[in-house]
């Protein structure tokens, strides 16, 4: 590689507040066009914005979760530009005093991607082009956004992807956004420049606008890298420009260059007073933050001794983690809880969304009861798996599948008798075992399982069998 890729991302995240940033309209996705708007979010003459306090709180949550400092005195600014989807001809945003600054997101490798700033702003409406006409839907207008601006610390498309995934994970964990790229609740602008490997002087950058999928981000970056590399190889100069990425051709193209860059004429929004956030409020929000994903992953591996592969499978879904952790707190053993969750329940949680929401009718309480039975050897793991599978399908408690008599198990005397029968009726297996074939004992397990309808504790049976054979 001749050139080092240098990249920074601007990520827009829609906040999951119930109402819009400056009015009481719902933020729910969809709805018939222009039914979720009012004089304020359609910029009617004389209407005034009222800043939604929850938006500020959510943005502070996002800032604290990415290790930012919070500017407790801040204000909003007007970003002026004329476009039909922007009904006031200015977007209320933040310019010189963002709510959050100087944070970072840590990648698996331990590398930190710096967060320059996080600010709050309003989303615009949507243009719909249909049969030669353009329609405007203002339902999305005024939906709260945070823009998360990273430092140019990203050095590969893979790192960009991981950074975005980590951001998604963090935002979902702290409950500020569902970060669904396909629905537009998360979108990225990618800045890219190249410099010779070993250099410290950044090259001229281009910005690819409005990326709405992780794989497109990677592909667009790779394409843009080779495009810029080719220009540099031929002794040319990269022109600073805003680009768009065509998903069909996989190519980037220029939207506008620096010459026709807009002058947004930012100035402080006079309709909204300076926002002063009491220190105690920030601390209150800090205290209310859940354990963050990276910390959870570390704790699962180092403290709970969950094997790293399973820990990876679990920590991405906070609702699953909450379920597992609650079952454990109710006395269920870690190993069986994790194995049953990842083994049995994950096969029922087919989509990402299902896992995101832990969309199963199994409570942590019932899970704990079941796992404890397995932990104590009252049922074997196969029965536990089968039972859990049914519970997940039918939503009934453990007691619906495993009765008291089932749990009585097989008493010691009876088990000894059955073991004897097993040895007597399988001479070949016994001979093989004696000859050193460890696996031959499985035939005896099978006999016992069948004779007891799976109720026997195989561990105990194993001990008895070995005694009998070696006698």
């Amino acid at each position: 590689m001749k050139y080092q890729l240098v990249s920074g991302l601007e990520t827009h995240v829609e906040l999951a507040t119930a109402t819009k940033i400056f009015c009481g309209c719902t933020t729910a996705f969809g709805g018939a066009p222009n039914t979720r708007c009012c004089p304020v979010c359609t910029g009617q003459p004389g209407a005034l914005p009222i800043l939604n306090k929850r938006v500020v709180e959510f943005a502070i949550r996002a800032g604290l979760a990415t290790h930012c400092t919070i500017n407790t005195t801040t204000h909003l600014d007007r970003k002026n530009y004329c476009y039909p989807d922007l009904p006031k001809a200015y977007q209320i945003s933040q310019f010189d005093k963002p709510l959050c600054e100087h944070g970072y997101v840590e990648l698996e490798s331990g590398k930190r991607i710096g967060i320059t700033r996080i600010h709050i702003e309003e989303d615009a409406g949507k243009l719909v082009h249909e049969s030669g006409f353009t329609f405007i839907d203002y339902n999305r207008g005024g939906v709260p956004l945070i823009e998360i601006v990273s430092e140019p610390d990203i050095s590969s498309p893979e790192e960009a992807r991981e950074y975005v995934e980590k951001l998604q994970l963090i935002m979902r964990y702290i409950g500020v956004s569902d970060c669904k790229m396909q629905e537009g609740s998360m979108r990225c602008d990618v800045n890219i420049s190249l410099m010779p490997v070993g250099s410290t002087k950044f090259g001229t950058r281009t910005e690819i606008k409005n990326m709405n999928s992780l794989s497109y981000i990677e592909k667009a970056m790779a394409y843009e890298y080779s495009r810029q590399a080719e220009i540099l190889d031929n002794g040319g100069e990269v022109v600073q420009a805003t680009m768009r990425y065509d998903e069909h051709t996989g190519e980037t193209s220029v939207m506008r260059t620096k010459e026709d860059a807009q002058d947004y004429r930012y100035f402080p929004e006079p309709d909204i007073l300076t926002v002063v956030i009491p220190e105690e409020k920030v601390e209150e929000i800090r205290a209310s933050l859940p354990e963050l994903p990276t910390d959870k992953l570390k704790r699962y591996v180092n403290e709970l001794r969950i094997n790293p592969a399973n820990a990876q499978l679990l920590y991405k879904y906070k609702a699953v983690c909450d379920f597992v952790e609650k079952a454990i707190s109710l006395g269920a053993g870690v190993k069986n809880t994790v194995n049953l969750t990842v083994g049995t329940l994950y096969s029922k949680l087919e989509t990402e969304d299902d896992k995101e929401r832990f969309n199963l009718p199994v409570t942590a309480e019932e899970m704990a009861k079941l796992v404890k039975l397995a932990d104590e050897g009252k049922i074997n793991i196969t029965l536990a798996q089968k039972t859990l599978s049914k519970m997940a399908e039918e939503g009934k408690p453990v007691s619906a599948y495993i009765s008291e008599s089932d749990l009585a198990g097989v008493d010691e005397g009876e088990l000894e008798g059955i073991c004897k029968k097993a040895v007597e009726s399988n001479p070949q297996a016994v001979a093989d075992f004696k000859a050193g074939k460890e696996k031959a004992i499985f035939a005896l397990y099978g006999f016992i399982k069948k004779a007891t309808q799976g109720k026997a504790d195989i561990k105990k049976a194993d001990a008895i069998l070995r005694q009998l054979i070696m006698k």
């Binding site: 004389g46 209407a47 005034l48 009222i50 006031k88 001809a89 004429r265 909204i272």
Partner: protein
């Protein structure tokens, strides 16, 4: 000065007249007088008749307030649900909002009767009301003169008594200056004391709605009815909510006189104000000399900040959602360009361009940022004054009403005539304008009483002394209702 509201209110309550009857009298007077003075641009007589019936019910049930059943007018930049609200601009041609301004909502609940919307400078940009797309209103005291502006229509309607009172808006003097030109009372409350929700913005950090009335008593009654914090306007603030007490006792009050307010003032105006101050002194007030060196800077600061905010506030008029749209266009951009070219008047375009310029990168620091710094200086110098005095007395304008058409050829002089009123907006202070005499042409002279922030009731009370002591009695203009 007579309290028209009190007189009418007593007649209504005692049953001498019903609101419906009173409303018809005003409607009849409007039909007679308005063709001459052009005060009203949109009549809302159907609304008025409904309001009057509602008011009569309230009065019968004993639920009336001092404003119940009394016909009034709103400046054409205050939103009225279902009624034309056009800022006297072509670009808002036919615009009927589907929401009410908070002030109108409050008055409507009390049974106020809306007669119509009154003339103004287009988007409140002007000092003579001549930039209105409907043509200028005429000064009822001398129809060869302007009403002043931008709330000239309200001033003319009240002066001629074809409205018992009105609400105007004041960004740089737009309530006080026309009140003075027409010889009525105009009160600009502290920024934030009255909700701006529904007031179509010109300079958002300066705009303030306030009463324009026949007397100080009326101004206080109307102020009481519209004041207060509003959850729909984040820049509004809590104020004392009881009725304003008017005693007019000025013993021991300290009147500040800053020489900077009197620089270059017409000597007749200075004389009238000096005479008024003398009367206050005789009643026990004390006069202290104060100085506001930065006062003259308030004017350029005002034009920079107001235009900057206006350039942003007026960006929304693109012909897409409401108002005027150009007839022939080839694309969206072309439609927006043509709509704005045809829809805005010359003065508005001038201010949009000025404002865009001062916010542009490369000029922002030299103009807008510097203006904000100087604004702070003006504010702090005024605050310092109020450590030495209770109120400031000043002229409302350095001149009396201009001849019609004069300002067209004397734009700079017209801009400069705002010199006494803009510092009040720059600092967000309350100020009342009231008549204090006449010049040699018989045109009313206005004086201003300026208070510190949220001292609105004190300002009204100190002004009430002038009313109580009959400091200046102008004769009534004929033709109006005059009950």
């Amino acid at each position: 000065m007579k309290s028209v509201i009190k007189t009418l209110s007593e007649k209504l309550r005692s049953g001498q007249i019903t609101s419906v009857e009173l409303t018809e009298k005003y409607i009849e007077a409007i039909k007679r007088v308005n063709p001459v003075i052009n005060a009203y641009v949109h009549e809302t007589f159907e609304e008025a008749r409904r309001d009057a019936e509602y008011a009569d019910r309230l009065i019968k049930e004993g639920k009336g307030t001092p404003l119940t059943g009394i016909p009034f007018t709103l400046k054409d930049n205050i939103a009225t649900d279902g009624e034309l609200t056009t800022c006297c601009s072509k670009i808002l041609e036919g615009f009927r909002p589907y929401y009410d301004a908070t002030v109108w909502k409050k008055l409507k609940e009390q049974g106020a009767v809306l007669l119509g919307k009154t003339n103004m400078d287009e988007f409140a940009m002007g000092s003579t009301s001549e930039t209105s797309v409907y043509g200028a209103p005429l000064n009822p005291r001398n129809t060869a003169r302007v009403t002043g502006g931008s709330s000239g229509g309200v001033a003319a309607a009240v002066c001629a008594d074809i409205a018992a009172y009105g609400l105007g808006s004041d960004t740089g003097g737009s309530i006080r200056q026309p009140a003075s030109f027409c010889g009525i009372v105009g009160f600009k409350p502290t920024y934030g004391a009255v909700s701006r929700y529904g007031l179509i913005a010109y300079g958002s950090s300066l705009d303030q709605i306030g009463p324009m009335t026949h007397s100080v008593t009326d101004a206080a009654l109307v102020y009481d009815a519209i004041k207060g914090e509003d959850c729909a306007d984040q820049t509004s603030a809590p104020v004392h909510m009881g009725p304003t007490a008017l005693n007019g006792d000025v013993r021991g009050i300290k009147i500040g006189v800053a020489k900077e307010f009197f620089d270059g003032i017409n000597p007749q105006i200075k004389g009238a104000i000096d005479a008024a101050i003398e009367q206050y002194k005789n009643a026990g007030a004390e006069v202290v000399e104060v100085s506001i060196p930065a006062l003259k800077l308030a004017l350029p600061v005002y034009y920079i900040i107001a235009c900057a905010e206006a350039s942003s506030n007026l960006g929304r008029y693109d012909g897409i959602r409401y108002g005027y749209r150009a007839a022939n266009y080839s694309s969206v951009d072309d439609m927006i360009t043509k709509t704005r070219t045809e829809g805005f008047g010359r003065e508005v375009k001038k201010r949009i361009m000025l404002g865009t310029y001062v916010l542009s990168s490369g000029y922002f620091d030299a103009y807008y940022k510097k203006a904000c710094l100087i604004r702070k200086r003006v504010e702090s110098q005024l605050a310092e004054c109020f450590e030495k005095c209770d109120v400031l007395f000043a002229p409302t304008a350095p001149v009396t009403a201009f001849p019609l058409g004069y300002s067209g050829g004397n734009a700079l002089e017209t801009y400069l005539s705002d010199v006494c009123t803009v510092p009040v907006n720059i600092a967000g202070l309350p100020a009342i304008a009231l008549p204090c005499g006449k010049d040699k042409d018989g045109l009313p002279i206005g004086m201003q009483i300026i208070g510190k922030k949220f001292d609105d009731e004190r300002v009204l009370d100190i002004a009430y002394f002038a009313e109580k002591s009959k400091l200046c009695e102008l004769e009534d203009v004929e033709g109006g209702v005059r009950l």
